[in-house]
């Protein structure tokens, strides 16, 4: 069961990250990048590192995506 979860998460991360690369809009890429972080949260938790999973959920999927979105807004405002 755990092996199935890990395999599905790996395949999901690969698909989501590929989709994040080929998006024409940058904001869609950032949202999909949050999905990559979410998949790695599941992986960290399954492999027995709940501390790292919490950190990744808060910082990797939360605050860093916010900073990317804000930077994108600045870029659009300067155009």
């Amino acid at each position: 069961m755990i092996g199935f979860i890990v395999l599905a998460t790996f395949i999901g991360i690969i698909i989501v990250s590929f989709a994040a690369i080929i998006q024409p809009k940058l904001s869609d890429s950032i949202i999909l990048f949050m999905g990559v972080g979410l998949g790695s949260v599941v992986l960290f938790f399954v492999f027995g590192a709940p501390d790292v999973a919490l950190t990744e959920a808060v910082i990797g999927a939360g605050i860093s995506s916010l900073i990317f979105l804000m930077a994108l807004k600045h870029l659009k405002a300067q155009k």
């Binding site: 709940p50 501390d51 999973a53 919490l54 950190t55 808060v58 910082i59 939360g62 605050i63 916010l66 900073i67 804000m70 807004k73 600045h74 405002a77 300067q78």
Partner: protein
């Protein structure tokens, strides 16, 4: 021409110097190869039970590598300082767009819950997964929710300055008290009996230091998000 030539000469000599240093280092390393694999981590984990903290990761981050955590906080402080210098401005933002009604209502309900969860993660850092860094960033995300929903809301600057200064000073003070009483910087001078392991009041100074780290990280991340968002409106 001469500048180019001197540049090339200095580059080549720099490469030669670094190559010599690397070769010397490799030579020393190869001549003193360890005969058996030593594992510092296992020895440290054996010592974990002496501190009476249920979460091993917290003991490593706050106690065995407490000085590194102090450095990480300093790095975050410098990042916040630089962002405030570059983006912080006194001019009030004048946003014309009112935020959504649903976002406003949901944020007033969700803000206390997220804040409470952040404090729980911070205070129970020595018993359950989590700790100061995670709890602080969760609190900053609650502040972010208020910032994007209520345009008139601003983080009180004087309160943030007070909290951050007090947290930084008390971290160093606790370390110095440990240095004077136990001859170890950040020594665990409070009672940390192993029979108390798993209780809220256990582990001596370790939960106190993690709460201090949480306060500092939370205030710094709140200021970073406020600078980014408010600046974004009046570019």
């Amino acid at each position: 021409m001469s500048i180019k030539r001197s540049l090339a000469t200095s580059t080549i000599s720099g490469f030669a110097l670094s190559a010599t240093l690397i070769l010397t280092f490799l030579n020393v390393l190869l001549q003193n190869l360890p005969t058996s694999v030593s594992r510092a981590g296992d020895a440290l984990l054996q010592l974990n039970s002496q501190e009476g903290v249920a979460n091993v990761v917290t003991t490593v981050v706050v106690y065995f590598r407490g000085f590194d955590t102090l450095g990480e906080i300093a790095v975050l402080f410098i990042a916040s300082l630089g962002l405030g210098l570059m983006l912080g401005s006194n001019s009030k933002c004048d946003i014309k767009a009112e935020s959504n009604f649903m976002l406003k209502t949901a944020s007033t309900i969700l803000f206390p819950i997220i804040m409470l969860y952040g404090m729980y993660v911070m205070i129970y850092g020595h018993l359950s997964p989590g700790g100061g860094f995670q709890g602080g960033v969760i609190i900053a995300s609650a502040v972010l929710l208020l910032l994007i929903s209520h345009k008139e809301f601003e983080v009180p600057h004087s309160l943030i300055v007070l909290l951050e200064t007090l947290a930084g000073v008390s971290y160093v003070l606790i370390g110095l008290i440990g240095l004077f009483t136990l001859d170890i910087f950040l020594g665990n001078f409070l009672p940390h009996d192993i029979s108390q392991m798993g209780m809220l009041l256990s582990g001596g100074i370790i939960p106190i230091i993690y709460i201090i780290v949480g306060i500092k990280v939370g205030s710094e991340m709140s200021m970073i998000t406020q600078n980014l968002i408010k600046r974004g409106e009046n570019v």
